[in-house]
């Protein structure tokens, strides 16, 4: 039997779904805009806090309401970042490193803004918004199958990830907007010459990515025991690790990355702890060894000579 069974398996599945919802939007936004966006963690954090403020200030018990509000909030922030910061920088021909540093500035700014909002909410209600407990939503019940209970958080994550995955697949493969998104991702200059409105595509992509990550944040509030404004920051490097496995380009490889990291972090550490006595405090170590290995062996597009996978195949003799 696997160490830590069944919790390690269930946690793996739960984390796989979280990483999917957090990393796929990161990959999608990078491959379309070429911005390595550290402010991505803000989308998740603002998603969490949209749910928390709705729960703590307005007494909202509905996951659906929280998810819709978070999608709009996260999407709006992403769009605002693009219009106010990334686009003007691009127009001034700023280097990718410069834009990345700007995204770090946004990341820190939004963090402090969130602390301020939590403080204001605290002043009005005397509730502690800086550290908030798990939210039990009324519209996502636990599912009981025979003797086994599927936690409501896992159920909601499964439903959300499936809905997001299906919608994304249909969007990218079956709609003209999706085809335009893929074209912009592959070759922005060619796409523009072909008459694809790149700016429109970028705006839509940012809104979609910010919104999807924020819905992931709402799911997190139904799973984690404590949510703080720093919760998303504490996992952003894992999210980047997952996206790097996908080369920051391939959505299918990002999904594989999510699976690999979630298994390593849950089943892997439980096995190391049980069989070799390695302390569980080594869990982040496993993630970052994976991240470094991926960066060296298979660097993502635009970093350390990383190439899109389709070019690698050609370079490697059609493997």
């Amino acid at each position: 039997m696997l160490p830590g069974y069944p919790y390690s398996i269930l946690n793996s599945l739960q984390y796989f779904l979280f990483y999917l919802l957090f990393s796929v939007p990161l990959t999608l936004s990078y491959r379309t805009s070429k911005v390595l966006n550290f402010s991505h963690s803000n989308f998740i954090a603002y998603g969490m806090y949209t749910a928390i403020f709705l729960h703590g200030l307005a007494g909202n018990q509905s996951f659906l309401v929280a998810a819709i509000a978070a999608f709009l909030a996260g999407g709006s922030i992403a769009l605002l970042n693009h219009l106010a910061v990334f686009r003007p920088l691009e127009q001034r021909r700023a280097s990718p490193a410069f834009v990345m540093i700007a995204s770090m500035g946004l990341w820190i700014m939004y963090n402090y803004l969130l602390y301020m909002l939590a403080d204001v909410a605290h002043a009005f209600t005397m509730k502690n918004f800086i550290s908030y407990g798990r939210i039990d939503y009324a519209d996502i019940p636990d599912l009981r199958i025979l003797d086994f209970t599927v936690d409501h958080s896992l159920l909601a994550s499964l439903a959300s990830a499936t809905a997001f995955g299906t919608a994304l697949y249909l969007l990218l493969m079956k709609t003209s907007l999706g085809r335009a998104m893929r074209a912009v991702a592959d070759n922005p200059a060619l796409a523009e010459i072909s008459g694809i409105p790149r700016e429109k595509v970028l705006r839509f992509t940012w809104f979609l990515c910010g919104g999807a990550a924020a819905v992931g944040g709402v799911l997190w509030t139904s799973f984690s025991g404590t949510i703080t404004p720093a919760s998303a920051d504490a996992m952003i490097l894992q999210v980047f690790a997952v996206s790097f496995i996908g080369g920051l380009v391939s959505l299918s490889r990002t999904i594989l990355g999510a699976l690999a990291i979630s298994l390593a972090e849950n089943v892997g550490i439980a096995a190391l702890n049980t069989f070799f006595g390695i302390p569980t405090s080594f869990r982040p170590f496993i993630t970052f060894v994976t991240l470094l290995t991926v960066l060296i062996v298979s660097p993502p597009l635009g970093a350390a000579g990383g190439l899109p996978y389709r070019f690698r195949r050609k370079v490697g003799g059609g493997r």
Binding site: G4, N128, G225, S231, N266, S281, R283
Partner: protein
């Protein structure tokens, strides 16, 4: 000119000079009178200036608090305690006739060692010689060499790692070291029937030292302890809790001893509440998560009742000053007194009076005054006298539980440690 004319002219000149002298004399006398009058007025003003109250002297005390990060849950409460303590301190010193006003300068250190060091350096640049905080032992360790070399008095209300009990430095702690609390927690667990436990602890200065001392005392009592550290600062601890459940099953222990802060403790307990394995053993907890709102959640409250969760914390139960402090904090700021609120309050009072007694901004003078003031000060946390290491010399410990009240689940002090055993004041769980 003839001699006659000379002779006539002379008496005429004498007449003129006498007649001219009279008004001159009158002017002189009047001038003298005016002069005296004016002198009297200005003299009176000068005298009035001499006795008029001097401008109020403002003295800043630095606070590096965990307003965000892993201790943010109690950090927000501490901020209110600081305001209450400063207000009380100002009223007290002014009642004694000191024309002094203390001003708190509060900075957030995000419960990080780097944040605490940055704050302490900022205070040093501002010329502040007394700093209260930081909260965690790892943070105190990070700022220790800076405050020692710059002769800044640092008073932590909550750092408890025994490794920081160092005589002759500038670090003071208004709470006893965990060498004492680890013994109380070991006695509590053993007295409640635990014989083999997993000590699930933070992998930091506080957690490692506490776990070592717990293991030592628990073994002395005849028990066995398996230490299991976990990494701090994670966004979630579900994987760690799964590994804990696995270890509990593998080692066949009868209790878990959790050494944590508040956000990690709340997180761990909320995941443990979902585990049948972890719900089947007893749980004993250090003072860290006491007061965290996450522990009042129904799921954790039900879990606490199921596993008969008990914790220890530095507390002098039955102190009327503590009860008064608790009631005033609640009525004025609407918050409940959590762990270390009393020691923080007393730290502020001690700092203020030490500055006044020292009469200068010299760090050594303030340090010497602080030791003397603490010998005779008695506050909500009890008698504050320091031992030779600058830690609270006489620390009492209470036992807390999470009980169901009319307004939901809440913390309750249910017992005390007395002469080597736990005395329960009430039965917390049916």
């Amino acid at each position: 000119m003839s001699e006659e004319s000379k002779g006539k002219a002379a008496p005429a000149g004498k007449k003129l000079s006498i007649s001219a002298l009279v008004p001159l004399l009158a002017v002189f006398i009047v001038g003298l009178l005016i002069g005296f009058a004016l002198a009297g007025v200005f003299g009176a003003q000068q005298a009035a200036q001499a006795v008029a109250p001097q401008e109020k002297r403002t003295i800043s005390i630095g606070f590096t608090l965990p307003l965000s990060g892993e201790l943010s849950s109690i950090g927000k409460v501490w901020e209110k305690v600081v305001y209450l303590a400063i207000e009380d301190l100002n009223a007290e010193v002014q009642a004694y006739g000191f024309n002094v006003e203390f001003k708190p300068v509060i900075l957030d250190d995000a419960t990080s060692a780097e944040g605490a060091l940055r704050n302490v350096q900022t205070f040093a640049q501002q010329g502040i010689k007394v700093i209260i905080g930081p909260a965690a032992s790892s943070q105190v360790k990070a700022v220790k060499s800076f405050v020692d070399s710059n002769e800044i008095v640092l008073i932590s209300p909550s750092s408890t790692a025994p490794t920081l009990a160092i005589p002759g430095d500038f670090v003071f702690r208004t709470v006893g070291s965990d060498a004492g609390q680890a013994k109380v927690l070991a006695v509590l667990a053993f007295q409640e029937g635990a014989r083999k436990v997993v000590v699930f602890h933070r992998n930091d200065e506080y957690g490692n030292a506490f776990a070592d001392f717990f293991e030592k005392y628990f073994k002395e009592l005849g028990g066995a302890a398996v230490k299991m550290p976990y990494q701090t600062g994670l966004s979630d601890y579900a994987a760690e809790v799964a590994s804990l459940a696995s270890r509990v099953q593998a080692e066949k222990v009868d209790a878990v001893v959790l050494i944590s802060f508040d956000t990690d403790g709340g997180n761990i307990l909320s995941h443990a509440a979902k585990s049948p394995v972890l719900s089947a053993v007893r749980w004993f907890i250090s003072e860290g998560p006491h007061g965290a709102a996450e522990l009042k959640a129904p799921a954790v409250g039900e879990f606490a009742a199921k596993v008969k969760l008990l914790g220890t914390r530095p507390l002098f139960i039955g102190n009327p000053l503590y009860e008064d402090f608790k009631a005033r904090l609640k009525s004025k700021y609407g918050v409940d007194a959590t762990v270390f609120c009393d020691t923080l309050y007393d730290a502020v009072k001690l700092a203020g009076w030490a500055i006044i007694r020292a009469g200068s901004s010299d760090g050594r003078a303030i340090r010497a005054a602080l030791v003397e003031i603490a010998k005779t000060y008695y506050g909500p946390s009890g008698w504050t006298i320091f031992d030779e290491s600058g830690d609270k010399a006489n620390q009492d410990y209470g036992v807390w539980a999470i009980v169901r009240t009319a307004a939901g689940y809440d913390f309750k002090d249910v017992g005390v440690y007395e002469r080597g055993s736990i005395v329960f004041l009430e039965k917390p769980y049916p």
